[in-house]
Symmetry: C2
Subunit: 217 residues, 2 copies
Amino acid sequence: MTITITAFERSPDGGMGLARDTRVRWALEEAGLAYEVRPVSLAAMKQPAHMALHPFGQIPTYEEGDLALFESGAIIFHIASQHAGLLPDDANARARAITWMFAALNTVEPPILELVTAKFQEGDKPWSKERMPLIAERIRHRLHQLSARLGDDEWLDGAFSAGDLVMVSVLLRLRPSGILNEFPSLAAYVARGEARPAYQRAFAAQLAFNTTRSTAD
Amino acid sequence: MTITITAFERSPDGGMGLARDTRVRWALEEAGLAYEVRPVSLAAMKQPAHMALHPFGQIPTYEEGDLALFESGAIIFHIASQHAGLLPDDANARARAITWMFAALNTVEPPILELVTAKFQEGDKPWSKERMPLIAERIRHRLHQLSARLGDDEWLDGAFSAGDLVMVSVLLRLRPSGILNEFPSLAAYVARGEARPAYQRAFAAQLAFNTTRSTAD
């Protein structure tokens, strides 16, 4: 059955790979699955056809036969649970890998999202400049803890898993801010993720997609 | 095997049920599982013994034999995947229910967390009063979309699932702000969740736990 995901017609980051379709492309590549991508414009994203697929009017979505999903974490989990390569076979190790997916999305990403919100939705406010260091401190607090847990390990819990895929994707959003590089072991962890052939293919595919669509415009 | 979770020695909300152990208690009650609760003080939460269980120094954690988990979403998923009553049997319906768990935690909860952060970590800042309406607007935006998707349905996708359990738990955090009551269909949805016998038992247990520990102090 054909797998179709949606992505920004033109990603706001111009192909830096920070839009959430990259996470899903990466998971699909790790699982060795072919997929098609349907571009959605910012205007179409809020229209009934897309809102029927994604109640919050975002990308990515995932369609496969009569199954339609939204929310990148859920899509990655679906792929990981149906195919080898992203979750360990051992039941306890599997539960722990899934734990890291949730931790990345509900504990590590929210303070990082605040940084994005502060920049794009409150960047013109008089408090903008003074608030940024406070947000950065909250992010550093989480990264200190994450870095302590990772220690000298290659991945968060044994072999590479969907937990690492999501955590690396979340941390990548921090690179433009410079905060990630304050934590060398986490920067190296992210670099290990980016070095995976499946990530490379996913990144190249989103870059080609965004570049092609820009020049076609 | 005995299931042991951790909870605040004394919850900062004094037993309103908004701490994240309530979500896990609710899932355990829906699944009909007995459990024990180990109280952790705010000081002990940052000590090595607890940080070994929870790398971000929070509650709840979950221990069952040689399995140790943290992060409430992951714990609820683990319970739901091992026991009947929280996820549908049909594979597609199951994937959609899991999607709502992720959507609650990664799309609906982050703006709600901003409200909490603004109050407790930036409440003394000069911008505090002026920012609140902006945060409230971002929350309302999500609730409009959620309310549109729920429509006149009882639950988000067919029968009650772990997706509803997490979404109701996330929305409950909004009640003190008054924002939830601006959306009557969502307020009714939350009330349906609270009316479930399993929620009632979970709420009563956390209230007794917090009350007992306060008077024992």
